[in-house]
């Protein structure tokens, strides 16, 4: 396996000027790539198996898990998580992290709440401003990472703490409490919540966020697999220098990814705020790790350049099923953290294997 020989001629053969083009030689290593091997190359295989196992387990061991009510329950948890996991997966494929993604769902919810309840905007302009604000924060994150060349881990950790402080400080200063409430009375609430936080299929009441999640995952999958932007996302995460050398606008791609993540966080923040018609100042803190876990369980490499949106969605589904399944089983819900830790470790081990196969032993 160490020598791949294009034609078998030694180096000396090239001395003859005008040597004829060598006969194309079939590489014996490529001959038998069957369906199983092709499947193993997909990043989402592990998470698909995991999802099936967990689903089957809770379906059999609990009564409610497999009913339509139960499914509505765990798809709800998986949906907001899944929207974020897909965005975070794109960012991770692009080779970066965003630790501020969790707290951003709180910041954006609070911003929308304050704009409407304190400053008298109606719902839709507030939503628009919230998305613009999120895009701005994402841009700042991306710009700092690209310009300073510091690890995004550190840059977004700073953003995380800044936003956490702002969330608490501003909320307390303006409302005198640690929450913004009363969104239900704002003009435009009904139409906005219809789009972002309503339910369908009564009496099981599936959340509309599930539809958003599936649509976003499908869009992200298409972008990754079939567009130039998707090609560039894989490239900047796989090898930023090589990408630059062939003309990929590395900085632009990375900044766009940070903006996408922040906008996704705004979407989820708005969904949660509208659903509860209030926002807690501590909303979203700590969630960023759950997003990263979902993405990694879905096959994203921590080193970038590899992963999928479907995988991240399956990762989110696993987390959602486990959280609700643990509840349905009547176990203490604190156990879910142990579960998260274990599946993360398993996923990283599996991913390592996959990467070695993909990169080849030669590198």
């Amino acid at each position: 396996m160490t020598e791949a020989d294009g034609g078998g001629s030694p180096a000396a053969a090239v001395t003859a000027p005008g040597a004829p083009a060598p006969e194309p030689v079939a590489d014996e290593r490529l001959a038998n790539i069957g369906l199983p091997a092709r499947l193993m190359r997909r990043p989402e295989v592990g998470s698909l198996l995991g999802a099936l196992v967990i689903c089957a387990f809770f379906w059999i061991t609990t009564d409610v898990f497999g009913t339509l009510d139960g499914i509505a329950n765990w798809t709800d948890v998986a949906s907001t998580l899944g929207i974020m996991a897909v965005a975070v997966a794109l960012l991770m494929i692009g080779g970066e992290f965003d630790l501020s993604a969790g707290v951003m769902t709180g910041t954006t919810g609070l911003l929308m709440g304050l704009l409407t309840t304190e400053w008298g905007l109606s719902m839709w302009p507030a939503i628009l401003l919230t998305f613009l604000f999120a895009a701005g924060v994402g841009f700042v994150n991306g710009y700092m990472v690209v310009k300073t060349k510091l690890p995004s881990f550190i840059v977004t950790l700073a953003t995380f703490f800044v936003l956490q402080g702002v969330n608490l400080g501003v909320t307390k200063a303006i409302t005198g409490t640690v929450r913004v409430a009363g969104l239900g009375d704002v003009p435009g609430y009904d139409s906005a919540s219809g789009l972002f936080s309503s339910t369908f299929w009564a009496p099981h009441n599936f959340r509309i966020s599930v539809v958003w999640w599936i649509a976003i995952a499908a869009l992200a999958t298409w972008v990754l697999a079939r567009t130039r932007a998707g090609n560039w996302i894989f490239a900047v995460g796989g090898d930023a220098n090589a990408s630059r050398n062939v003309g990929v606008p590395v900085a632009r791609v990375k900044i766009a990814l940070f903006m996408t993540t922040a906008i996704a966080a705004a979407l989820v923040g708005i969904m949660i705020a509208l659903r509860l018609s209030s926002v807690q100042a501590g909303q979203g803190v700590g969630e960023e790790f759950t997003y990263i876990i979902a993405a990694v369980v879905g096959g994203c490499l921590l080193t970038g350049g590899y992963g999928s949106a479907i995988g991240a969605s399956l990762g989110a589904l696993i987390v959602g099923m486990a959280f609700i399944g643990i509840q349905f089983s009547g176990w203490n819900t604190d156990w879910r953290f142990l579960f998260l830790g274990v599946i993360l470790l398993l996923a990283v081990l599996v991913n390592n294997l996959v990467r070695h196969r993909a990169e080849g032993a030669r590198r």
Partner: protein, 266 residues
Amino acid sequence: MSAAKPPLLEVRGVSKYFGNVIALKDISLGVNAGEVTCVLGDNGAGKSSFIKILSGVHGHDEGEFLVEGEEVRFKSPRDARELGIATVFQDLATVPLMSVWRNFFLGSEPTVGKGPLRRIDVKRAQRTMREEMQKMGIDVRDADQPVGTLSGGERQAVAIARAVFFGAKVLILDEPTSALGVKQSGVVLRYVVQARERGLGVIFITHNPHHAYPVGDRFVVLNRGRLLGDWRRGEIGRDELVKMMSGGAELDQLTHELESQLEAPG
């Protein structure tokens, strides 16, 4: 060579300074179509500064830079590429986890459809990649195979085939054989010859005269940022080239010093 046509690429008296460090001084070189020009030099001789000027990464501080007789000044590698000067950087040419066809078209993907539905023409990309690799004598059966699973020589071939396909007239190869074994180096050298046969001007940068000698039409040796010599094929022997590369007279002196030290007692 025929004097009627100006060289594809020519530098005249080019110098480059980094602060008070003279990286390159007074370098002149012409590259013609269908020729392999080997740029040789030891570490620190100025090879990489030279490539970076040729490929548009750095601007030159003195001298002239002409492409097909027209004076140019590159601001970025993109400018150089647009004039048909493609550089294949060693180990920085492909993304290992991406498939062969995605690597081949990276940065210049063929698309179909308009507006938000604009998408990569995967079928065309895969077919074109196969055809182009076939021309280099590599049969890629599985277009979705990650480039990382190819051998080092084949990876260089992907990068070279890509540069040729996208209309390179001058191909700059930065140490394409330095990380490879003997057999793999031979494979890459064959691609160099092929690129020449297809009428490209090839600049082959290496510190290995044994790799340069069999394929070169012209040999340029750099030493300490200066042009030490410029020979056509047949004007210089392999041993002489080796000697020139390692500094010629310096090597003799070093040999003397080492010998006298070894002979000295204690």
